[in-house]
């Protein structure tokens, strides 16, 4: 179906149009969120939030960008918000732990294995995902959209609402930081 027509139907609240959009874009949204959050359970929750947000604010969608670009933007914003909330909770739990208010032992999640990585690269990719976690948000987003979602520089620029030159700079700095992070890891473990 034509995207314009689909958006019109969505704005009129046609449920079948919503089902069609979810069917067409669920993997795109899930993969983006999974790349940023590195947890399958959290990725499903946040992906659902992305579509709920889309359903509730489709009236504000002016059609200036593609629906997929808009969905990428919502997915990125929701994932970063989720991560910030999680970090705040972690800090709060740490302070609670200091005062003995919360005695539960909190474990860091085990290393993340992306289901789309080939078997022979799984070990290396797990190191890389660990290092990606340490990147600043804009570098992390640019790297995830480019490397994991396979978007071009121009598409990443549209999603992040920056210039292509900025995307190039983010990716260049991301790679530098990853080299440094992985170098430290190499020294510790070899």
């Amino acid at each position: 179906m034509n995207e314009q027509l689909l958006i019109q139907q969505l704005q009129q609240g046609v449920e079948q149009a919503f089902a069609q959009v979810v069917d067409a874009y669920q993997h795109l949204v899930y993969n983006t969120v999974l790349g940023l959050l590195q947890s399958k359970e959290e990725a499903e929750d946040v992906s659902q939030e992305v579509f709920i947000q889309m359903y509730q604010s489709i009236g504000q969608f002016k059609g200036e960008s593609k629906l997929s670009t808009w969905l990428y933007r919502i997915a990125v914003t929701k994932s970063l918000d989720w991560q910030r909330r999680k970090n705040r909770k972690k800090r709060f739990a740490f302070i609670e732990g200091l005062f003995g208010a919360d005695d539960r032992i909190r474990h860091d999640p085990p290393e993340f294995n992306h289901p789309g990585v080939a078997m022979e690269s799984k070990e290396k990719a797990a190191f890389l995902f660990k290092a990606i976690k340490s990147l600043p948000d804009n570098q992390k987003v640019a790297f995830t959209l480019n490397k994991i979602e396979g978007l071009s520089y121009q598409e990443v620029a549209e999603v992040m609402q920056v210039t292509e030159a900025s995307v190039e700079a983010f990716l260049h700095r991301a790679k530098q930081n990853l080299r440094k992070e992985l170098g430290d890891y190499y020294h510790k473990h070899k």
Partner: protein, 118 residues
Amino acid sequence: MEHLHNQEEEIEAIINSLNHISRAEAPPFFYTRLHARLHEEVKPTQLQQLIGILTRPAFVVATLSFFVVLNGIAISSVLKESKGITESNTGNDGTIQSFAREFDLSVSTLYSDTKTNE
């Protein structure tokens, strides 16, 4: 030197490990769960929306400021009014006294009348 070269090669290999990654797929029945969640999130009623607006900090602060300004205006107008009355009282003092004299409204006259009657 060779060790450093190996390290760099290995790091590059790690960075390139996502080069042929394929897209992860959303879990099965994703839409079914999403649909259920969407219908669970009930839209707030009109009363809840109204309460939401009334309890917004911006609305509360604006209302309080409005009443403070209203009180200020009322107090200043009352003060102005009382000042005006005082001024007019002092200004017309002679007139009132002459009015009283003219109509003979002094209390002592009434007393003297009563005493005379007794």
